[in-house]
Symmetry: C2
Subunit: 173 residues, 2 copies
């Protein structure tokens, strides 16, 4: 039922969540970003059952997030690396980490710090207007929302009913 | 086993995923951003079983993401609204949407368009250095990674083994 509901959902968010929306998926991707490539190394670091890990990795390959590369011929041994689409997940991981640093660790130190090499400042994940080169994450966020061609009728009904001023401003601000 | 493993994980990402890392959680939050507040409206829009929705909403309240407000006294009726911590999830939703727009819809139109009110440009979720006011998401990304006080010994071993140059650049670039 969950699956059916999602396949029908004409929403980037819903369809992306079907792919990346489970814990292990994103932790495997995180480990791949850290440089882990081999099954045994994923297994050791994540402490996950081998059969579950194998299923998750297969799923990530089906969705084009990881790809398998032969690194030894006799016997055949494969390692798993991020595709371009997999590398694009980085900002999602960093956005989740940023949320946790603020809302779980509450700014009191956090396990990993990521900073800009040129100046040492902690990086930030933000909503940006690349035309105005403005950060819109804070009080100056002024976003217009509009339904695209691909929006389902059901979503269209809901959006028009609840977003009385047809912008995100009221609810997202 | 999943739960145990996560509670031990000293990682903002892992601990955040425990809270937000399931499909329904983020879809409920998305609906809350759209302006939905009442149980029946969530239920109708998401097409989710009432008992599952009730459990998910309770969980979101336990984690401080939604809070309940009385809107009618006789009989008592509640609505569910985002807390500050819940509103902070917005950028995660937008980052996931952006990933899906590019990697699922492949730039060929998408269900929802969100643009900067001042200029009409589609917004973007980016890695930013707020000191240099630079977008670091592209080729100019130069990030230093360092373990914080809260990092577990296991993670520390893995990071030092796989990140030979102690920066993210090699693997994340």
């Amino acid at each position: 039922m969950r699956r059916t509901s999602f396949e029908n959902a004409k929403s980037s968010l819903a369809r992306s969540l079907e792919i990346v929306g489970d814990w292990w998926t994103l932790l495997i991707v995180r480990d791949a970003f850290m440089g882990i490539r081999r099954f045994d190394d994923f297994q050791e670091h994540l402490g996950i059952a081998r059969n579950i890990l194998a299923a998750r990795i297969r799923r990530l390959m089906d969705f084009g997030i990881l790809e398998r590369k032969l690194y030894q011929v006799k016997p055949k041994r494969y390692e798993y690396v991020l595709t371009e689409s997999g590398k694009d997940l980085k900002i999602i991981l960093l956005a989740i980490k940023q949320w946790g640093d603020k809302n779980i660790y509450e700014g009191k130190g956090h396990p990993v710090s990521i900073s800009h090499k040129d100046c040492g400042e902690e990086i930030s994940v933000d909503i940006v207007c690349r035309l105005c080169m403005e950060v819109l994450s804070d009080d100056n966020e002024r976003l217009d929302w509009s339904p695209g061609d691909e929006m389902s009728d059901n979503d269209r009904r809901v959006y028009s009913r609840f977003n009385t001023n047809s912008t995100f401003e009221m609810n997202l601000g």
